[in-house]
Amino acid sequence: MSLSIPLFIPLASGLLAMLLPRGAAWLARQLVLGGTFATLFYVVAMLVDFDSSAKGLQWVTRENWIETLGIHYSLGVDGLNLFLIAVTALLFTVCALWSALREWDRPRLYYFNLGLAETAVLGAFMAQDLALFVVFFDLMLVPFYFLIGVWGRGERVQATTKFVIYTLVGSLLMLAGAIALGVLSTPDGGQISFELADLQRRTLGHGTQVWIFLLFAAAFLVKAPAFPFHGWMPDTYRATPTPVLVLLSGILSKVGAYGFLRIVLPILPGASSTLQELMLVIAVVSILYGSVMAFSQDDARLVVGYSSIAQLGFITLGIFALDPKGAQGAVIQMVNHALVVAGLFFVIAVIAGRSRESESLERLGGLALRAPVLAALFLIVALATLAMPGSPNFVGEILILFGAFDEKIVYGLVASAGVALAAVYAIRLYQRTMHNRVGPDVEPGDLSWRLDMPAIAPVVLVLLALALYPQFVLHRTEATTTTKIAAAAAKSHQTPGPDRTASSAGAPDQSQK
């Protein structure tokens, strides 16, 4: 199985759609929808075929791309990114489906951007070369810039510009950090290489590690978004069209967290343990801030938006607990959150469709009796959001908290408050829209089986499936997540002493095998 095929099918279908003559524009949606489906099938086959006992990468593709700069076209899948790739393929398919059931202005351009976005996101998840990761990471912005700016609503141009500038400032800092990492870790007379495996093997002085760590953290935290870097979030979430918002909030936000696990912890173990406290503080503050903001918002989208900040705080907490359980919880939580957010935004879009495009909690309410199916689906998703025992989110959050309790009990305790707060905002959101008296804008009507169900049903079904059988994920992710944090965890446990660099050289090597 070659990873290039699922990676480039969406882009290829998008390009074809773009090149269609004006008269055949209606074909664009079929093409790209077909492309996302093909990718999804391929990824499902990968899930089945995945060897969960193997610790290393599978289906590795490795070619020289730019030899002079030591950049490789290097792809691979392991337990860390397998489910992120799967959920990406799923959500893109669902969003393409949701889009295909509706009319869009300039369909060819729209579907081209959708295809490009999928390829870019999948590329960022699959890349095993730092420079290639940066390429895909930045490339993601281009389609989203267009998708928000052209098909958004309200202050869309301003919002999309803000979004791109915020995120690109982060990723340009990461670019500088990545180049510095590649150049400075090259031994004298050695060939420069950005391949992650090579970078992991090479060592870097502690001071250098710290400033490179900060550059990477800037990019990943903006993307997430985490507390002090979320300035772009409210405007962008308000302006973005629903299917794009699902992708933005569900998938894009995970790339940053994934980057920490894939790149930062294994390659910069020293800095990761030094700056662990800083990251934990950011994580906990994000949890509290996001939760508090989420239950004071009137705009339903922003409730979900701020809850994402809190959820990503949890994920960051799990990662920087530097504990195997925490890291695994983080990976599971990434997948869960993507599904939950997708469900929530679709439901909100359906509600808005039943209430004159209103998304203000003040003007909604009382839909449950008029739309029982919608209410049932919403309830499932909302309960998953607040990590009800029995939901997959419960598994994720409990693992994260276990990890935090093991390593840093104070942060664990504060974060537990976040779990309680999640119940408050999730139930408030559900109540305000579904119960209470009928809002002034609400028109009767359940969700449409033809227009809405095809997109929502798969998300909820997968969520239920994961609730029933979380071992499917746990089993496949365990081996790799443990190795990814091994080096940094070893650093944080050992007492600071003169032999710091020596053991940091040794630790990544073990994790390579």
Binding site: I66, L69, D138, L139, G149, T161, V169, L175, A176, I179
Partner: protein, 515 residues
């Protein structure tokens, strides 16, 4: 009384190495003579074809002369043909060809006369090639004057437009000050080193001349200032926006890419070859200049509403990025500089081509609004502009990304990591104005409200103001240039290895940097 001299031996001339220059001069003469013929065919078709033929022939000969790692002194070491000279010559030829195509329907052609226009263009290209091949201070100065003087005239060639005349005059005055400063600096360097040849200066600096000799340092400072004028490096950049805006746009495009490449050819030859031993003296100063340039250029571009002015300021900023490659004084820095000049050519020409296509038909001229709704009305122009803007901003999958990557790589590698961070910071600021262009083209209002009876809103898709002449293919040669350059930008962004092979040759061409 006449004293008979002893026999003077004829100088050694390598005619093969000289052949591109001979072709250029021959072509110039031919075009000048053909311009005397009257008739529509000659003026409209024959002259541009002859010019294109000349540039094409020179390009072919340059490729023929090419051999990796070769230093071929021609004309008694006054000129030297190496990969650096040849690769930059390619930039000049391609820029020249693009300019001929872009100027095909320009008002400047009929105002100033087609023959004069093309002749001046060719002489300027000749000067640039001469400059790139210069191996001593004298040929350097001859080259820089031969490239500048025709450009002064070309700037003013749209004689019926006040702004064009003003630009020409401004460029003449400021360019002359720059040339004078440079000349004075070169004279002082000669005074200190006692030789005009670059190789000789390099030897002398390491040997007989003290590096703290005030004569030498003053000379370096003055030469640096003079070159900064030519390359529009801050704080010597003030002329750039005015001249770029006033000059006929094809000439602006030519200046933006070719003159910049020529100025950097000299930066490389003078600083990274002749004066490399004094790097400790000049590198901090140049690094400071680069930083100022990046900041000033990017900040200046933000508030611009004229596309030409915006591109001028962005050109200033880009000069700062490129200067970083010179500062480090390493083989990698040289390669990165040349690489960036090559891709800079592609992305800038694509952008200018779109500006030209629009300013000829739009009532907004070169204003930002001329691009409004271009994505819907003329995708063949909107895509090249989008790609050019994204590439200039350094988005991946475009050659601009790889170029910037390489420059930062070189900066970090040469112990100037902070300069790499400055480049990154500059790119961040630049997003504001590059993305604005993209937003104007694609994200205009979806629907326009039409006057209607109350209670019955009528809307329509905005296509107003688009005449048949505004169609992208009403000016096929301009669209062709835009599409070709944008396609090349994308291609080299995805598969840059041909360019890397090319600059790998260039990397070996300055003996001082090798080994």
């Amino acid at each position: 009384m006449i004293l008979p001299l002893a026999d003077v031996p004829a100088p050694h001339i390598d005619y093969k190495g000289l052949s591109p220059l001979i072709a250029l001069v021959g072509g110039t003469v031919l075009v000048l003579m053909a311009a005397l013929l009257r008739g529509r065919f000659v003026q409209r078709s024959l002259l541009p074809l002859l010019t294109l033929g000349t540039l094409g022939a020179a390009m072919g000969l340059s490729i023929w002369v090419w051999s990796p790692g070769d230093h071929r002194p021609i004309v008694e070491s006054a000129l030297e043909v190496d990969a650096l000279a040849l690769s930059l010559s390619l930039v000049f030829y391609v820029a020249g060809i693009a300019t001929v195509l872009l100027a095909h329907r320009s008002a400047a052609l009929s105002d100033a006369g087609a023959g004069e226009y093309y002749t001046l263009l060719l002489s300027s290209v000749t000067g640039m090639v001469l400059l790139a091949e210069a191996a001593n201070l004298i040929t350097l100065f001859v080259g820089i004057e031969l490239l500048s003087i025709p450009l002064y005239v070309l700037c003013a060639s749209q004689v019926r437009r006040r702004a064009s005349l003003e630009a020409g005059l401004k460029y003449l005055v400021i360019g002359s000050v720059g040339s004078a400063t440079l000349l004075y600096g070169l004279a002082l360097i000669y005074g200190a080193a006692g030789t005009t040849s670059f190789a000789g200066i390099d030897r002398a600096l390491g040997d007989t001349v003290s590096l703290s000799d005030p004569l030498l340092l003053t000379g370096i400072a003055l030469a640096c200032a003079g070159l900064a004028f030519k390359a529009s490096v801050a704080p010597f950049h003030q002329w750039t926006p005015d001249v770029y805006q006033g000059a006929p746009t094809p000439v602006t495009a030519f200046m933006a890419v070719a003159t910049k490449a020529a100025a950097f050819a000299i930066f490389l030859r003078l600083f990274d070859s002749a004066l490399l031993s004094a790097q400790f003296q000049w590198a901090p100063a140049l690094a400071a200049l680069a930083t100022i340039t990046i900041v000033v250029g990017n900040v200046g571009a933000i508030a611009q509403d004229s596309l030409k002015r915006m591109l001028a300021w962005s050109g200033v900023a880009q000069a700062g990025y490129i200067l970083a490659g010179v500062v480090v004084g390493t083989q990698k820095g040289l390669e990165a500089t040349v690489f960036y000049l090559l891709v800079y050519l592609l992305m800038n020409v694509a952008a200018f081509a779109v500006v030209i296509a629009r300013e000829r038909v739009s009532e907004w001229g070169d204003g930002m609004r001329a691009l409004e709704g271009l994505g819907r009305a003329a995708p063949w122009l909107a895509w090249p502009m989008t790609i050019a803007m994204l590439a200039l901003a350094g988005f991946p999958a475009t050659a601009g990304f790889i170029g910037k990557f390489y420059l930062i790589d070189a900066a970090v590698d040469g112990d100037y990591a902070w300069l790499g961070v400055v480049i990154v910071a500059g790119s961040m600021i630049s997003l504001v104005y590059y993305l604005r262009v993209v937003a104007v083209m694609w994200m205009g209002p979806m629907e326009v409200r039409l006057p209607s009876l109350p209670g019955r809103p009528r809307t329509a898709k905005p296509v107003g103001g688009w005449s048949p002449e505004a169609d992208a293919w009403a000016q096929p040669e301009v669209t062709l240039v835009a599409v070709a350059c944008a396609a090349a930008t994308m291609f080299f962004g995805i598969w840059p290895n041909p360019l890397f092979d090319l600059v790998a040759d260039v990397g070996t061409s300055l003996a001082s940097l090798v080994g």
